[in-house]
């Protein structure tokens, strides 16, 4: 009964996306109509879908349909717990993105074809629904690649900007290479199971030879890692995410890279069964690297959106730290610990979707107000766009994992699962896990630093450029979009029980552990990771204390210190009368200390140009310009590319245009064949 209802709702949701896309395509080329149609279909679809996903998760139902059976491989559409959870994630973010787009896309009217934009946006969501609900390899690949193509088209929306065109291309190519690896895994699995269905993969996987298993594992790692932006497969991410329109950036960083995580969750925890310990170890290693390097590069950025993009890499790293630990525990048979780590990873996935979505929306609002992504030009925006600033602050607090927001809970959980590695019987894990714990700690602190920078230098103090002076607050719909996510950030931070409850089913049917009962007590108000008395957390209580102290302080101030007056004054600037923006600390300045300390990672280069009349020591103007080196690109990708190009150049001589040469090839082939035959006879 309920199941069939949910099924109908599901189909209705997809119908809305499809129709909404078509309508926005058909009605109105560039005008407001298509903008409204496109956005509203996203809103409605997401709203309905959100309900559906919640329904699935709470009623713990699932279903499967087959269609297009005339193809060599029939399509399977099946919704299980993991699918429902990711549907929940997708729709939660897309809902607010829809609201946001309503106002955001106004500036695109007339410039770009909004009808097509809406079409692509809706279809993108549809493809993601198909992706998380696909029950076999072919459907998966279809949805996967459609998603890639559509997001590629969306990234290069601003076709007149070379940057976004290049970004789109890079994104497409790298993702496709990633897809090829997933493809290999599927084919390898297919060659044993004789079918593309995931369930058949699962049932036959244990009989596969270790070599092929490892092949499958590695290929999945590369494939999904590319989509998720795991270092060293990440290079497209910091290029593509900033180049896209901000609502799309938010979509990509919030949702699309999570599809890689979905792949990991689906295959490493369900299909591939239990693997050797080094699987988890490898993932843990890459994850730690991604986390640290991601945030380090983020710290060096003063392009607001690129900064956020690098943070996506970092957070993917954090998520995968959880997953890697889970795999290690799984190998050693510590099921409930593994479940804990897995849960932590998924929790962080959800959180990252929410706050990164929020942050990108905020950044979008700022960028479209300031008409620049360069933080050097910003500052003082908190006075001009207070609401945006407030929401961005909440986002920053969440991503820096500060209580009482959601990021804190998931990172806390991940720390718990790392610390509980003391239960590991033996093996590398016992050293590797603490080390990645240290990495994670470093990451957390750097993230905080980075968001002090991001928020402080964007919103506080004085504006550093005239166009920032004229910045206007975002329209209501955009505020609403951000507001929802900000709210969610807080809620997921205070009521972890709810999220854990949602995830209960997922963990249950992958690991057979009732995680909700395992790690929560007093009705979800308190988290007690697996072992009683190891540690416990009750964010609600913490918040209560915090708030009551705050309240007390306010009361004290109101009652006893009412008479003390507060006067506004000029900032003390070593005696200079008026403080000018030139004297402010800049993003570059803020990150300088880090650049110095980690110089062997950044390999910073800078030059200082002196514009002065003769004699040279009379200086009118100093120009500072610096850049850092991205190691992976420098040492991995550039050489590879040039290598292939070289081969291409070399091979050109074959097609030299001389007919004699061509005939000679023919002749030689023939002669060679004849000789071969005479020998073989």
């Amino acid at each position: 009964m309920i199941a069939s209802l949910l099924e109908k709702m599901m189909i209705a949701t997809m119908g809305i996306f499809l129709l909404g896309g078509l309508f926005s395509f058909l009605f109105g080329k560039t005008g407001a109509l298509s903008r409204i149609l496109g956005s509203w279909s996203v809103i409605l679809g997401s709203f309905l879908g959100l309900g559906t996903a919640l329904g699935f998760l709470i009623s713990q139902t699932s279903f499967t349909i087959q269609f297009f059976t005339s193809l060599p491989f029939p399509f399977n559409f099946s919704v299980d717990f993991l699918s429902s959870f990711f549907l929940f994630l997708i729709f939660l973010v897309s809902l607010s993105i829809g609201l946001y787009s309503l106002g955001y896309l106004v500036e695109y009217e007339g410039k770009y074809h909004l009808g097509v934009f809406g079409f692509k946006l809706n279809l993108l969501l549809l493809s993601m629904v198909f992706l998380v609900c696909s029950g076999d390899g072919v459907t998966f690949l279809m949805a996967w690649e459609s998603m890639t193509l559509l997001s590629y088209l969306l990234v290069s929306t601003e076709t007149d900007k070379p940057e976004s065109v290049h970004a789109g291309n890079l994104f497409l190519v790298i993702s496709h290479i990633g897809t090829a690896f997933i493809f290999i895994s599927f084919l390898a699995l297919f060659s044993f199971s004789g079918s593309m269905g995931f369930s058949d993969f699962k049932s036959t996987f244990q009989d596969i030879s270790p070599f092929d298993r490892n092949l499958v594992f590695i290929c999945f790692l590369i494939g999904f890692g590319t989509k998720a932006g795991v270092i060293p497969f990440h290079i497209w991410l910091p290029v593509a995410h900033p180049a896209a329109p901000s609502n799309i950036s938010s979509l990509m960083s919030g949702i699309i890279i999570k599809m890689g995580i979905y792949g990991f969750a689906r295959f490493y925890f369900d299909v591939l069964g239990i693997g050797p310990a080094w699987w988890g170890g490898l993932i843990l290693f890459l994850a730690s690297i991604s986390a640290v390097l991601g945030v380090m590069y983020a710290l060096m950025e003063h392009d607001l959106k690129r900064l956020l993009a690098f943070h996506s890499i970092e957070n993917i790293g954090i998520i995968l730290i959880g997953f890697g630990t889970a795999l290690i525990f799984k190998t050693h048979g510590l099921t409930s610990l593994s479940a804990l780590a897995f849960l932590a990873g998924l929790y962080h996935t959800l959180n990252h979707a929410v706050f990164k979505g929020l942050l990108f929306l905020g950044a979008g609002a700022v960028v479209s107000a300031v008409h620049s992504r360069d933080m050097e030009k910003m500052g003082g925006l908190i006075k001009r766009m207070p609401t945006t600033a407030f929401f961005f602050l909440i986002g920053s607090l969440s991503i820096s994992a500060l209580p009482p927001f959601n990021g804190f809970i998931s990172e806390w959980l991940i720390f718990q699962s790392l610390l509980l590695s003391l239960n590991l019987p033996e093996g590398m894990g016992r050293i590797l896990i603490p080390l990645s714990g240290a990495m994670l700690a470093l990451t957390g602190a750097l993230a905080a630093a980075c968001f002090v920078k991001a928020f402080g230098l964007t919103f506080l103090a004085m504006p550093r450029s005239p166009q920032t002076q004229q910045a206007k607050e975002a329209p209501i719909s955009m505020k609403l979009g951000m507001g929802i996510l900000a709210m969610v950030c807080l809620l997921f931070g205070i009521f972890p029980g709810f999220v854990i409850f949602l995830l209960d089913g997922v963990v249950l049917n992958f690991m057979g552990v009732h995680i909700f009962h395992e790690i929560t007590s007093s009705g979800g108000w308190m988290i007690v990771p697996v072992y009683q008395g190891f540690s416990s957390l009750s964010p609600g209580v913490l918040l209560m204390i915090l708030c009551s102290v705050l309240l007390a302080l306010f009361l004290i101030v109101l009652i006893f210190l009412r008479d003390k007056k507060i006067t506004q004054g000029e900032t003390w600037a070593c005696g200079i009368h008026e403080l000018t923006p030139k004297m402010e600390y800049t993003p570059t300045g803020f990150s300088n200390a880090f650049r110095q300390i980690f110089s062997n990672i950044y390999q910073p280069r800078h030059e200082i140009k002196q514009k002065g009349t003769s004699p040279p020591y009379v200086t009118q103007e100093l120009l500072y310009s610096g850049e850092i080196e991205h190691l992976i690109e420098k040492y991995l990708y550039k050489p590879l590319l040039s290598y292939f190009l070289k081969i291409g150049e070399k091979i050109k001589v074959i097609q030299s245009g001389s007919i004699h040469a061509y005939l000679a090839y023919l002749f030689l082939t023939l002669v060679a064949g004849l000789i071969y035959l005479t020998v073989s006879f």
Partner: protein
């Protein structure tokens, strides 16, 4: 009952914190063969600042006004997670050492933001460097926590200290000592003391914590400083009770509260002594040398971890 305990705890922490810094000042003065200010000077300062009006930079926003409160209250919250006399905490369940670390981080975050608020270079540099140091301290601290977790089997502070206390002489093992060293360095860095930062300086170009507080005045400044002292107090207590976990009362029992208090004061004094010795015998490090110090602490905690496994086999 619970409420009283909670309030009592806060009173102890925030009441004791200025005294502690007073003690350290006094000891330092003695080492420098000065008479030095009275032990209670910090209280007078606080009182004076609460009396004064506030002057706030016109570039600041609500965050600047809000910061002292959030910093103070996060310290207050943190104080409830740290056992002082007794290993049973009324609200101990609500968080563990990780939560503690992140409450400090919350305070730091806002402090750094308010450092940037006024737009002066001092504040900017202060917050930048504060974040750097915390970032470098964090990994060492985490590994130290790991080794604590390993030796005690838990990371909620109450139980941890209890188990450690019950270990008796087993506690005297290399892992424990190394971890102590590591965490001590971290504490110095976190509380902004020499050789990392100089708490008694103003308007020195290299100041870090003071740099961020530069624009505060009146009650704002008072709250910030008070919170800073509380943080220092908490760290000292943490060190004392984790690594010298003797004389901690298993649960609150006012009849025999005496012993714990005595032990407690002894520990505090001892650590204060160490700090003042360090402060008066070392010069402040160049900022870009600080990483080496914290690196050393990281290595110490890593060794602690390894030795633990080696000893445990």
């Amino acid at each position: 009952m619970g409420i009283i305990l909670i309030l009592g705890k806060m009173v102890i922490v925030f009441g004791g914190a200025p005294l502690l810094s007073g003690i350290i000042k006094k000891l330092k003065a003695r080492f420098q063969s000065r008479k030095g200010p009275s032990l209670f000077q910090p209280y007078f300062d606080l009182a004076k600042r609460f009396q004064k009006d506030m002057v706030i930079s016109k570039h600041t926003s609500w965050i600047f006004r809000f910061t002292p409160f959030i910093v103070f209250s996060s310290m207050a919250t943190a104080s409830l997670l740290v056992p002082v006399f007794s290993t049973t905490l009324p609200l101990g369940f609500s968080g563990d050492i990780i939560a503690l670390v992140y409450l400090f981080a919350l305070a730091r975050f806002f402090t750094a933001l308010s450092g940037l608020e006024a737009g002066s270079a001092f504040g900017g540099m202060g917050s930048s460097r504060e974040m750097v140091i915390s970032a470098l301290a964090e990994p060492a601290m985490m590994l130290a926590i790991f080794s604590v977790a390993l030796s005690s089997g838990t990371i909620s502070l109450g139980p941890a200290m209890e188990t450690l206390a019950n270990m008796g002489t087993d506690l005297v093992n290399p892992a424990h000592v190394l971890a102590f060293g590591a965490l001590f360095i971290v504490a110095i860095a976190e509380t902004g003391r020499i050789p990392v930062d100089n708490p008694d300086t103003h308007l020195e170009l290299t100041m870090i914590h003071e740099g961020m507080l530069l624009e505060f005045s009146g009650r704002g400044l008072a709250l910030m400083e008070w919170a800073a002292q509380a943080k220092q107090f908490l760290f000292i207590v943490l060190l004392g009770n984790l690594f010298i976990p003797i004389g901690l009362a298993p649960q609150y029992d006012f009849s025999e509260i005496g012993v714990p208090i005595v032990f407690f004061l002894a520990k505090i004094f001892f650590l204060a002594l160490i700090i003042s010795v360090v402060e008066s015998s070392l010069a402040k490090l160049r900022f870009f040398r600080v990483p080496e110090l914290l690196g050393a602490s990281f290595i110490l905690s890593l060794l602690a971890l390894l030795t633990f496994y080696i000893v445990k086999g």
